[in-house]
Symmetry: C2
Subunit: 215 residues, 2 copies
Amino acid sequence: MRLLLAEYEQAATFLEERTWERRPEFLRLNPAGVLPVLQLEDGECFCGAIIAGEFLDETAGALMRDKRLMPENMVARGETRRITEWFLVKFEAEVNRYILQERVFKQLMRTEEGGGPPDSATIRAARANLANHMQYLESLASSRDWLAGTEITCADMAAAAALSVLDYLGEVKWETAPVAKEWYARVKSRPSFRPLLGDKVMGLPPSSHYIDLDF
Amino acid sequence: MRLLLAEYEQAATFLEERTWERRPEFLRLNPAGVLPVLQLEDGECFCGAIIAGEFLDETAGALMRDKRLMPENMVARGETRRITEWFLVKFEAEVNRYILQERVFKQLMRTEEGGGPPDSATIRAARANLANHMQYLESLASSRDWLAGTEITCADMAAAAALSVLDYLGEVKWETAPVAKEWYARVKSRPSFRPLLGDKVMGLPPSSHYIDLDF
């Protein structure tokens, strides 16, 4: 979401939401109770990165000409959406959800909210899933200029965003995916990525190469 | 997918795929290994009902004028996508996936594929999730003409499709959601729904009211 807003030059204010607290005010904005939610100045909400992304593309993106991150061609649009969904839904459900829950959110949660020490079996399972996803990412990066094809698209933003969270935590074994590493360095060097590289999670310093553009 | 194809008057041939067999030819069409996959005559594929639905809407739907199932207004588009995703992703992950796996697919699978008798604890958990979803469905149906707002949209097709599978199996307690029942009867009476009402699952007869339009 932050990458897409920056790519489409849309100003936004970012608010933290601890979704596990299930605040009624937040559930009114998104009954599914998950992030991100894009709220317009008039109060209207777009729930989830895919739906908010389609909105941004159909409004701001449609005016961006060759900087638009959604192709015009129908088959390329389908592939862009497939790769976007792959990283925002499948990768999220199989890898990020578990690693973030165990390594980040459980530290922030109170015991009665499910907080506590990380569960190593869960982390191990998620890391095994990540290894499979890295193989797929490497095969994509090896067969295409960008992950959905010949042009850079919002699929690259989705994939890089999903990976950047893990990269911060030092979870990504880039040596196993050298071509994907080169693709990631290209996305990471874009101006839209800069604010993400300044992120800090309370009590968790980033991995040594997280902000290094030539890692 | 079948409802949308019928609503948009697109002819299609339907092929059964036992996804748990993970046929290499099928995984080449959709590396995620899940259904539905929409394949065009030239071989190009659109993976998943949301992505194939966006494609159908942008091609056939865009020519349908007032029969188009995606609103023009940006906020209404966001809400249509939210409700569509709710039923195709969230409802599927919390209810249908488990009930279908336990009550239908395990009967069709060989033991080494995970086949066997249904697990009653899993079914019980899925039914508890379904009760929550029925409450939400009832609150939507009680506050709107159609589930995404004032017009019928692809969100109604997504929701009705997700429910029709459960209705076939007699899992839907319609008496707990009388306004949703009235909405469902309206969708079910559309010509696009007729082929679904003729469906038969091997060894599992439909519930007594499944084909009854005035159930």
